[in-house]
Amino acid sequence: MPEARRNALERMVETFNMTSDLPEELDVESPPVQALLATLTESQRSNFLAMASDPGVRKMSSVSNAAMAKYWDAVLSARDRGKKIAFIPFNCSPEIFHALDIVPVGVEVLNSFAIVLEEGIHEYLDLAVERGLPDTMCSAQRGVVGLLEAGVVEKPDFLVNGAAGSCDPNSKIFEYMSEKWDIPALYLDVPYSHDRRAIDYYTEGYREVVAALQELSGNKLDEDRLREACRLTNQCTEIIMEINDMKRQVPNPVPNYYNLNHLAQKLMLVGTPDALDFYETALEVCKERMEKGLHVLPEEKIRFMMMYTGIYFDQGLHHWFQEEMGVSYIMDLLVFFDFNPIIDTTNVDTMISGLAEGMLSLPMTRQLKGSWDMPANWLEDLLYYVDTYKADCIAFTGHAACKQVWGIYRIVADEVRRQLGVPSLRLEGDGWDSRVTSLDVIKEQFTEFFETLA
């Protein structure tokens, strides 16, 4: 049981505010900065250096952090402003909540950002288990259950889950939170296939969720606000595609750390001016890097792709790849967005259809809902991304809770190797819990793997 602590969101706002104005000229080797770094935990130091060492990464991270500070502050003050809060998973479009004047909180995003708390996330992962959850449940959401149990995060007004059918632990943890804390929950059923009938079924389910949210909240969907959110999202999508075009180049000018900022923005803040601000800054940085011929240092030795999720407990991996290993971290599955459509903003109906179709194509929902070799599923997407982005190798982090991916890793990896000649590495770890496999061990395993590719 953790000791009584201050509200987690308050502390997250403070941290993001502190890192939202990183100076353009910052010498991380200078004595004052080194002295400051010495006061941080190893994980905090690693994360800070990952975002602050490179000037371009520093610039885009400052904008991203400012947006995150503002976002968490808005969550924190929501009740005082008379607004309701909904917890949603990563595969649930936030735009609709903006249009309904409900504040959405991405459970996985909150879980991931809990690493900035001085106590870290481990005690919350453990507390959730101590109070009943099986220890095999996914650490991507389990930390949030621990935060609720500890009382350092307030319970939301609603839960909206969009993972039923694509991920058992994800949908189950929402049902658990609903029953445990008596929170109304809405579930969106994900069909097994990805054809027209499936898209229509899913869209209809989404319409029902939107209608139920209006009833539960007493708020009416504001068409103008929805259009504005969708317009902003479309602008972000266009920039994401432009940056992805740059990623296809050899060498890749897009800094590795962009993937982390991009993930948080795309999953939580799309539909807001702040997200657009971030993507415009990121594009500017990437263009500048490309013009200057900058890429991973000292040279792009390996183009690397995570075939599934990445490592989130320590963001130093991206930095280490880039600065020490010459490895371009092109993307992981959580930023596989090439098939997300531009939303037709003609009317509410077209916007809801566009959002639903986009959600069905969000990472994981798209690839893990059916069978591994169906159209628009994991194998087909991996073959596309590996080929299009010219990956030399792929890896599976072995995220312990993702049993279904463990269950098809081999047949998928074998097929990628057979069709494209691209080898894979299977690690054993946990994306959010460093105790399963530490970053040092992960680095050793990558080093050995990369040596075999030479």
Partner: protein, 375 residues
């Protein structure tokens, strides 16, 4: 107890004598894995539905290369038997996307050891009118796929007969469970699981005949079975292992009912026999006592458990889940909370399936539980 002996004999082997006789007649056998598969459709097409399990797997060494150590040992045991050719007598198999583990079992089976007929019948993960229509669409597609592959045609009359035949099974099993509610149940929980297990692998008419005989032969246990024994309910992950139950009962308990997809949840509700049989069948399977895979249906699952507890005068509940089964593991945590609020002692137990089961640890835990509730 001739009927029981025959059922026990059937449950001991995968390819039993009834299956052999069926195949000698030139008829087909199709496997399935989940209680959301409407067996009556196969039955009406003169195809024997046969429930695939991992029973008899000695280890999971072949399956572990594909489904790994973090996958449920039931799914691994099924796949292992597939790799070993133990299910080669099947002419096809139908899966449901019951859980992440079993659908990945299907993926590997399809990739590595496919039957001539491999089919996935997806089931929605929530109970709603819209979901019911989706499920209907899937059932219709399934029916067409079976008809096309096996060159047969489903008639309304045969389907209606199949519904009646299966309802008869369910009524007979309800009578069997009624006998267990008394002071001297004629069968132990292990024996009942043996009876249920046999029913998943023989022609339904034959099973009904044996059940009728069994019920005629059934007499209250001479010892007055409850005699100091703790009346238990077992719920949770898939359980077809009579030895597990015997192990529990050996410690001074008697399992008098269950909430298992291999047990009461699989036969509790009947199919309506008036009107359109296919529509009725779809309603029956879609709305049968829900698996924890059905989101938002926790209140129904709790209500079903409470109903069984009251009917059978249960004094303690074992909520077990196979390791890595997040669906049952999570539900069990909530059920424990709610049942204990009702004053029912509950034990949560994580276990492995089949060859990986650790009987010694389980005996120790059960013994402690029985002591706790005053046995």
């Amino acid at each position: 107890m001739r009927a029981f002996q025959e059922l026990a004999e059937v449950s001991r082997t995968l390819e039993n004598s009834h299956v052999d006789a069926w195949k000698r007649d030139g008829k087909k056998v199709v496997g399935f894995v989940c209680s959301y598969m409407p067996e009556e459709i196969l039955h009406a097409l003169d195809i024997l539905p046969y429930r695939i399990t991992g029973k008899g797997a000695q280890d999971t060494s072949h399956a572990d290369s594909y489904l790994t150590r973090v996958n449920c040992s039931f799914a691994r045991s099924c796949l292992e038997l597939g790799f070993l050719g133990q299910y080669d007598f099947l002419d096809g198999a139908v899966w449901n996307n019951g859980c992440d583990h079993i659908r990945r079992c299907y993926d590997n089976w399809k990739a590595k050891i496919p039957f001539p007929f491999m089919y996935m019948l997806p089931v929605p993960h929530k109970i709603s009118p819209q979901g019911r229509e989706w499920y209907k669409g899937e059932v219709l597609k399934f029916r067409s796929a079976v008809e096309d592959h096996f060159g047969v045609e489903l008639s309304s009359k045969k389907l209606s007969d199949a519904v009646s035949t299966y309802n008869e099974t369910r009524n007979l099993l309800r009578r069997l469970y009624d006998l267990r509610t008394g002071d001297s149940p004629p069968f132990t929980g292990a024996e009942v699981l043996t009876i249920l297990s046999a029913g998943t692998s023989i022609p339904r008419a034959e099973y009904n005949r044996l059940l009728r005989e069994l019920l005629e032969e059934a007499k209250p246990h001479p010892d007055g079975a409850s005699n100091g024994k703790v009346r238990l309910l077992v719920a949770g992950s898939l359980m077809d292992d009579a030895e597990f139950i015997a192990n529990v009962e050996d410690l001074g308990a008697i399992v008098v009912t269950d909430a298992l997809c291999f047990g009461a949840k699989n036969f509790w509700n009947l199919t309506d026999e008036g009107g359109d049989s296919l529509e009725n069948l779809i309603d029956r399977y879609y709305e049968h006592p829900p698996c924890p895979r059905m989101t938002g249906a926790y209140p129904q699952r709790l209500a079903f458990l409470r109903e069984q507890i009251e009917r059978a005068d249960v004094k303690g509940v074992i909520l077990q889940h196979i390791k890595f089964c997040d669906l049952h593991g999570t539900d069990n945590a909530l059920l424990k909370r709610d049942l204990e609020k009702d004053g029912i002692p509950v034990m949560e137990l994580e276990r492995q399936y089949g060859p990986l089961a650790d009987a010694g640890r389980i005996r120790t835990r059960v013994q402690a539980f029985l002591e706790r509730i005053g046995a």
